[in-house]
Symmetry: C2
Subunit: 182 residues, 2 copies
C-alpha cells in the first residue's frame, strides 16, 4: 500500500524533530529577516505554565554586542562567531516554572531555526555572567537572563569534523520503562 500524504507529512515532521543538533560554528552570512520573523512567531506561540508567557526576547545582530556577550561568565563563547543571537529574558517571578518554560521556549526557537536550515546552540550564562549580561543589554535587574542562543548557517566543514563528538544519545532500552519503574 502506498503511503498517504498524511503519513508522509508525519514522517517528515518526526525526522525534522529527531535531527535537531546543536551547532557552534557558523558561516558569516546573515540570517534573513523572514526567517527571524518565523522564529519569533514560533517562540510567541510557546506554551507556558498557566499560559503566563513569562518571557521577552532580545534579538541581537550587532557584532560588538555579540562579542561582549560571548565573554561573560558561562558557556556562550560561540556567540562571538554567530551572525545572530537571541537572548531570553525571563520575568523572574516563579523560579521553577520559569526555568522549565524557558527550556520549552529555547527548544522551539532551535527547532524553528532548524526548519529553515539554520543551526543554533544554547549559550548558558552562569554566575556573575547573568548580571553582566543584563548590564550590557540594559535589562532590568529583577529579570532572569541565562540563555543566549547563537544562530546562523552551519559551517559545513566544522559540522563534519564535529560529527559524533558529544552528540550521541543513550539507547531507548536505558531510558524507557513501561507501566512501572525498573
Amino acid at each position: 500500500m502506498s503511503e498517504t500524504t498524511d503519513e508522509r507529512t508525519a514522517r517528515d515532521r518526526i525526522s525534522f524533530l529527531r535531527t535537531l543538533r546543536a551547532f557552534r560554528s557558523f558561516r558569516p552570512d546573515p540570517v534573513p529577516q523572514e526567517i527571524i520573523d518565523d522564529i519569533l512567531e514560533v517562540a510567541r506561540w510557546s506554551g507556558s505554565a498557566s499560559n503566563k508567557q513569562p518571557w521577552e526576547i532580545l534579538v541581537v545582530r550587532e557584532r560588538d554586542t555579540l562579542r561582549s556577550l560571548s565573554s561573560v561568565e558561562g558557556y556562550a563563547g560561540h556567540l562571538a562567531g554567530a551572525p545572530l543571537g537571541i537572548v531570553l529574558i525571563m520575568a523572574g517571578d516563579r523560579a521553577e516554572q520559569e526555568t522549565y518554560d524557558e527550556g520549552r521556549l529555547a527548544e522551539r526557537i532551535m527547532l524553528a531555526a532548524h526548519a529553515h536550515g539554520i543551526g543554533s546552540s544554547i549559550g548558558w550564562i552562569v554566575g556573575s555572567g547573568r548580571d553582566a549580561a543584563k548590564e550590557l543589554l540594559g535589562i532590568p535587574q529583577e529579570k532572569v537572563v541565562r540563555t543566549a542562543i547563537s544562530l546562523g548557517y552551519p559551517d559545513e566543514g566544522a559540522r563534519r569534523s564535529s560529527a559524533g563528538r558529544g552528540q550521541a544519545r543513550k539507547p531507548l532500552g536505558r531510558i524507557v520503562h513501561e507501566e512501572r519503574y525498573g
Copy 2:
C-alpha cells in the same frame, strides 16, 4: 515565482511548530505503538546541558495507574481521561539545568505527538504529589518527578468548545526587543 520544495517543507514545519496547543480532553482510542515509538525516539534525541540526558521516561497505559496519578497534588487531573501518560523521571543531580532540560524534553514529546495528530497536555505535579507519584510508580526517592504528560486523540467536541480559552498569546510587539532592552 513558484515555491520550491524546500520552501514548502520549511513552511509546513513552521506551521506545524506554531500550531501546537495543549489538549486535555481525549477520545478513548489507544495511541498506536508506532506513534509511541516515534515519540520516544524524538524524546531520546533531546538536547541537554553537557549532553547529560538526565532523564528516564515511563510510559503508562493502565487505566488504574493513570487514575491514581491524576489525583496526586498538582494539575494532572486530565490524566484520568487520557489513554496514555508519559511520566518524566529526572536524575535529581542539578536542579536548575534539569528543570530547563525537562522543559525541552516535554516540548519535544508534545511536538512528536502533534506530528501524528495526537493531542497532549503537561500535567504539573507539585508538593506532596511528587513523592506520591514516585511511591505509586516505584520510582526511587532521589529522582525528581513533576511532569506527567497526557496524550490521546483530541476530543473534537471539547476542542471546539475550548477554542480561544486561555490559549491566546501576547503580540510580538510586547515581547520582542532589538539589540538592546526597551
